[in-house]
Amino acid sequence: MEAHLVDWSRAQFALTAIYHWLFVPLTLGLGFIIAFMETIYVKTGDEFWKKTTKFWMGLFAINFAIGVATGLIMEFEFGTNWANYSWFVGDIFGAPLAIEGLLAFFMESTFFAVMFFGWDKVSKKFHLLSTWLVAIGSNLSALWILVANGWMQYPVGVKFNPDTVRNEMNNFWDVILSPVAITKFLHTISSGYIMASLFVVGVSAWFLLKKRETKFAKKSMIVGATFGLITSIFILLTGDESAHQVALKQPVKLAAMEGLYEGKEKAGITGIGILNPKKNLNNDEESYLFEINAPYALSFLAFHDIDSFVPGLKDLVYGNEKYGIESVKSKMLKGKIAIDALKEYKEAKKSGDMVSQLTSKSILEKNMKYFGYGHLKKPEDVVPPVAITFYSFHTMVALGTWFFLLFVLILFFSIKREISKYKLLLIFSIVSIPLGYIASEAGWIVAEVGRQPWAIQNLMPVGIAVTDISSTSVQATFFLFAVLFTLLLVAEIKIMLKQISLGFEGGH
């Protein structure tokens, strides 16, 4: 496949994923916030909470529609742009997608209609149940798609079948209970909850600054900040486990996240740093132009042991005998052996030579875990873009810390003081809405850019996964999507802002 085609296909998928992820986090979190508010309404019968619920629900709907639209594209892009991938892993990857549609998406969309149009048509309790089911449905939807994504990062529960030339599922539970998938799910949904909390807090802060709807804004702020604080603590735990899983299953990604070229024992973590752009795998330049390092932290984060050795990019690419790390060159050789064995297997099968068939199958099985390496051109190909991964990771962590602090401050001043007097804090709250989106997108960039060049970790590089199509076609659809999504995004932002400015009574 032409490199140009691979790059455009990657760009198109990245574009779709980034746009899709602009809308999903808010849906994931706001669904629960609305459900909490409606629960208060049903429990107390206080009309104020009904109006509050309806206000946030109106914003939820605007966001939901465009999230659904971009999600549809993503599902079909696996086939349109990554056809070879679709066959290679369809036996496993298709299942979570189908289950998502059946178990989660139907629940979400069926009860979405009741949630919005059923206020005067169904009982209060059935309506409340519908609101909860929409929230649960959207989160279940995330579960299944993240199970599928987790499998791409850490392929388990499968066996390669040389007759069909694909990976076939042999343990469904291994797939859905994979530690990578579970951690990814928990970390991702909690980031969505934080995003939604920031949204509620920020919008409420705007009302307070404008001295409008103050009761509504203060109450909403407390709900949002409480939810945000709880999930901020939770995301710390899932983030820690996530980094641990990356260290175990995708060490190259971890090294890129930290800009770590030389492996170290008692490795420190870079709190703030600027990478040296001149640094590469084959020179002795310093890794950083500037760095503030927390000693031992990376060793602890990666392996929960402050003395542990964290391999750097050089160790992982060129090997490190002392720590038993195999070089990529050696893996590439084994990968080529696997690919050749597969060819021999097919030829032997065609000619009916059973002995050769068994021999080549045995060689293939022995080397299968390196299969993807056989397609690489040079060892350095396994290194993802370091700078993007590094800065995305540090942006995510820094902003996550800020959000935790913000929720603490908001809750403190809401409960102990008159929060509307603290204008700077209110301004910070508003500014934190876009920061939330940046953090959330940065998280995805770490996860997805950090695993390049693999479509399926160690098994299939993106160059093999791509559809055999002209790059012009992909370029054309890239720009069409870019224009369409941008138009829709602009429309959403303008509508959202207007709906917010209409306020508590006029927002629906």
Partner: protein
């Protein structure tokens, strides 16, 4: 339970599920059909248009969801089709996706203040989704019978051999006839849905007039499709998987699978009865009869093309690359696992029906659109 089934039985089970989903999707596309009738039924009256859009808007997600599930189920059960068709007929599928993206936002954004593109643009989006989207879907589905130009290599990676990447299917009369037949069918079901869901005499009378015209067009295109289908050679395969042309294959399939033929005829008859009862006896509940009819008819067509030793996605570039339910399916383990998941389908259908029933107990009225403070499109 499912573990004891053979791989072929599982493949057949899954083809039946895919066929059912195809049928349900065709039924749910009354939303798309309704979207193309907005102008004709409202004739510029904003209140009537609001009633029509709100009636459809409470159902649009179901169509979207069915499309997602249809895609997901094909991916899981028949991954080689997924990779071949979506990757190959790239432009057709991309065009269909575009038509669906613009639908998703239109209901919610159309009437909102500061909506940037303007109300008319979103209404145009709805029309494009209901017309171009549906016709293209019909064309794409027709290629299940007429075939496409692709080959599959020894790694089961597919390669397309037409420079128009699927758009060439739109130049085939057979494919077009199904595309247009589907377009007029969904308009009929859209009109039947409005008659059932909206309490307004003007809309009802206009919908009936619309059905009369659309039924004629539907029958015209559908009979062309049917004639071409039943008189054409099909792509059969033997026990060794060898694909060959067989004259009147699809006609024989109906004869050799009388249950499928029965489903097809009963389905068609139900659609005709539904239309007749609506036009002549002013009935308002015929969307149900027509709905079951559409599901049965479309399901029967899918069963015809996938079962009885027929290649459901033929290649006219390399006939041996043609896809059958046997050479394109997931493994025994995956199909078994998915089969257990499929047992949830009746529960999903049950809660959809219940929620639908709860929401539609009271029909949409002018008063509700003008005076209610609930969420509106």
């Amino acid at each position: 339970m499912f573990e004891n089934l053979t791989l072929l039985q599982l493949q057949q089970y899954w083809w039946i599920i895919i066929s059912l989903l195809g049928g349900l999707f065709a039924f749910i596309m009354f939303v798309q059909g309704g979207q193309t009738l907005l102008g004709r039924l409202s004739k510029g009256d904003e209140t009537l248009k609001t009633m029509l859009i709100n009636s459809l808007g409470r159902k649009w997600e179901l169509g979207f969801t069915t499309l997602v599930l249809f895609g997901g189920a094909l991916f899981a059960a028949f991954p080689l089709f997924y990779s071949t068709s979506f990757g190959g007929a790239y432009w057709v599928w991309m065009a269909i996706l575009f038509c669906f993206i613009i639908q998703a936002v239109s209901y919610e954004f159309r009437k909102k203040a500061n909506n940037f593109l303007g109300q008319k643009v979103y209404e145009l989006f709805l029309f494009i989704n209901g017309s171009v989207g549906v016709i293209l879907l019909g064309i794409a589905i027709a290629t299940f019978f007429s075939g496409s130009s692709f080959s599959v290599d020894t790694n089961n990676f597919s390669h397309w051999h037409g420079s128009y990447r699927g758009l060439e299917a739109a130049s085939n009369i057979f494919n077009l006839s199904l595309g247009f037949a589907l377009f007029f069918l969904v308009r009929i079901s859209g009109a039947l849905y409005f008659i059932n869901n909206i309490d307004n005499e003007t809309i009802k009378q206009r919908a009936i007039r619309s059905i009369k015209i659309d039924m004629l067009f539907f029958l015209f295109f559908f009979l062309i499709f049917l004639y071409l289908l039943l008189s054409k050679s099909g792509f059969a395969y033997d026990n060794n998987g060898l694909v060959y042309y067989q004259e009147y294959k699809y006609l024989y399939n109906f004869v050799e699978m009388p249950i499928v033929l029965g489903m097809f005829l009963i389905g068609l008859l139900m659609v005709i009865i539904a239309v007749f009862m609506t036009i002549h006896f002013n009935k308002t509940c015929c969307i149900k009869t027509a709905g079951v009819g559409i599901v049965l008819t479309v399901m029967a067509l899918f069963l015809n093309v996938g079962l009885n030793g027929t290649s459901y996605y033929p290649s006219f570039y390399d006939i041996q690359s043609s896809l059958t339910i046997q050479n394109s399916s997931g493994s025994h383990y995956t199909l078994t696992t998915m089969s257990y998941v499929s047992l949830i389908v009746p529960f999903v259908l049950a809660y959809i029906t219940y929620a639908w029933y709860q929401m539609d107990k009271v029909k949409i009225t002018k008063d509700e659109m003008e005076n209610s403070h609930t969420h509106k499109y």
